[in-house]
């Protein structure tokens, strides 16, 4: 299934971009974007609104031509955009028929199972379904096409809390069964724990950080202690906050070194994804760090 393979190293890559850039008139929506996404991962594409998430996904889906750089995806790509559009005059069954017609690989059983799971009537015109139901039809179409890389732009937006959890679980089950790679964008970082295992952080059209989520978070620590200009351990300061007589540092620890021991009045706390993302985004705004 893997089609474009440039060298041995890249066989296990699902997506690879180099110097990718896309601009709308004079404004760059995406710039110098370079990353590699290993196959089989569930990657979260995180960034503020307007960070370039949708643009990046559209380029990877082949819907937009980049103005510079290259993007290579292995195998077939499916993309569900944020609006989760469907043909209003098509029934859900028609949408699946379309999927079967317009894809070289089609898994009718899987697509139907998804619709059944969410109790979507097959015969009703999509225009008469609720927004949430239309989203399920769009998901079923993407799942049925058995992509190598599945890209979802804000997949959980506009879904109710229960549906969010169910869609996540179903999606991850599909990933487990088919081995596909998933790239999903979101700005609700809190929902990613345990869902994503890879992070791509975008800000202002540029890639701030990327990598295995656990490794990334394990390399960072949050220290809180008495007011101080320097952190209690060696490392790169991602974010420093000083309130009253207290200082907080989010530190990126040097690689390949044991975790430092910090005694005294400092307390350390593991960094949550939310801490990390917010600190990184705040840092770009202030011009520190990246």
């Amino acid at each position: 299934m893997t089609t474009v393979v440039e060298s041995v190293d890249t066989t296990a890559l699902a997506v690879r971009t180099q110097g990718l850039g896309k601009r709308y008139r004079t404004k760059w929506a995406l710039r110098d974007c370079a990353f590699e996404l290993p196959a089989g991962r569930v990657a979260a594409l995180v960034g503020a609104n307007g960070a370039g998430k949708t643009t990046l996904m559209s380029v990877l889906a082949g819907l937009l031509k980049p103005d510079e750089g290259t993007a290579v995806t292995s195998g077939r790509v499916a993309f569900v955009s944020q609006d989760k559009p469907v043909y209003r005059h098509f029934s859900a069954a028609d949408m699946l028929r379309m999927g079967a017609r317009l894809n070289t690989v089609w898994d009718q059983t899987r697509a139907e199972r998804w619709l059944e799971r969410f109790e979507i009537p097959l015969g009703k015109a999509c225009g008469k379904l609720s927004g949430g139901q239309q989203a399920q039809v769009a998901f079923a179409l993407a799942i049925g096409s058995r992509p190598t890389v599945l890209m979802l732009d804000e997949p959980l937006a506009n879904l109710d809390p229960l549906a969010r959890r169910e869609v996540t679980a179903e999606l991850l089950t599909e990933v487990e069964e088919t081995g596909m790679t998933v790239l999903l964008s979101t700005h609700v970082v809190a929902e990613l724990g345990g869902v994503a295992d890879y992070l791509l952080l975008l800000a202002h059209g540029r890639l701030l950080a990327g990598g295995d989520l656990d490794e990334l978070l394990a390399r960072h620590v949050l220290y809180t202690g008495p007011k101080s200009d320097v952190p209690p351990a060696l490392g790169t300061v991602v974010e420093a906050r000083h309130r009253g007589n207290q200082s907080t540092f989010l530190l990126e620890l040097p690689e390949d070194q044991p975790r430092p021991v910090v005694a005294g009045q400092w307390t350390e706390r593991p960094v949550t994804l939310e801490d990390y993302v917010l600190a990184q985004l705040a840092a770009t705004r202030k011009g520190i760090g990246a």
Binding site: R41, L172, G194, V195, A196, L217, V261, V262, R269, T272
Partner: protein, 129 residues
């Protein structure tokens, strides 16, 4: 058993799974010979990424608590050395007394948590050194 992921916790999801298995072992909910839920079951029931579950199971395997048997699943291999039940009970009683003393001294749950954590951190430091 069913896993829960606390998304607000700073602990990586795979470590949360590891911790929950260890707790189950410690509390006797899981005993040697028991089969852990399949990766697919965990994914479907808890909305956790399969890679996360695999990572947790591998971690448990490395620490010798479970073993993967080709084609039939992951099984509990060893009970978690929780020590003599009497010793455990005595420790618990003393700790409860300590917590009561802390409360009387005006500490709330968070203060206690911070204190315990800092002592544990120091202990780890000693262990490393």
């Amino acid at each position: 058993m069913e896993f829960r992921i606390d998304r607000a916790s700073g602990l990586p999801a795979y470590l949360q799974l590891v911790r929950q298995v260890r707790e189950a072992l410690r509390l006797g909910w899981l005993v040697p010979g028991d089969r852990l839920p399949t990766v697919r079951d965990v994914v479907a029931s808890s909305g956790v990424n399969a890679n996360t579950v695999l990572k947790a199971y591998r971690e448990l395997e490395l620490s010798g608590l479970v073993e993967a048997r080709q084609g039939s699943g992951t099984f509990v291999k060893a009970a978690l050395g929780s020590g003599d039940p009497e010793v455990m009970a005595a420790l618990r009683t003393r700790f409860a007394e300590w917590v009561r003393a802390a409360r009387e001294a005006g500490l709330d749950t968070e203060d206690i948590d911070a204190l315990v954590r800092s002592v544990l951190t120091e202990g780890e430091g000693e262990a490393v050194a």
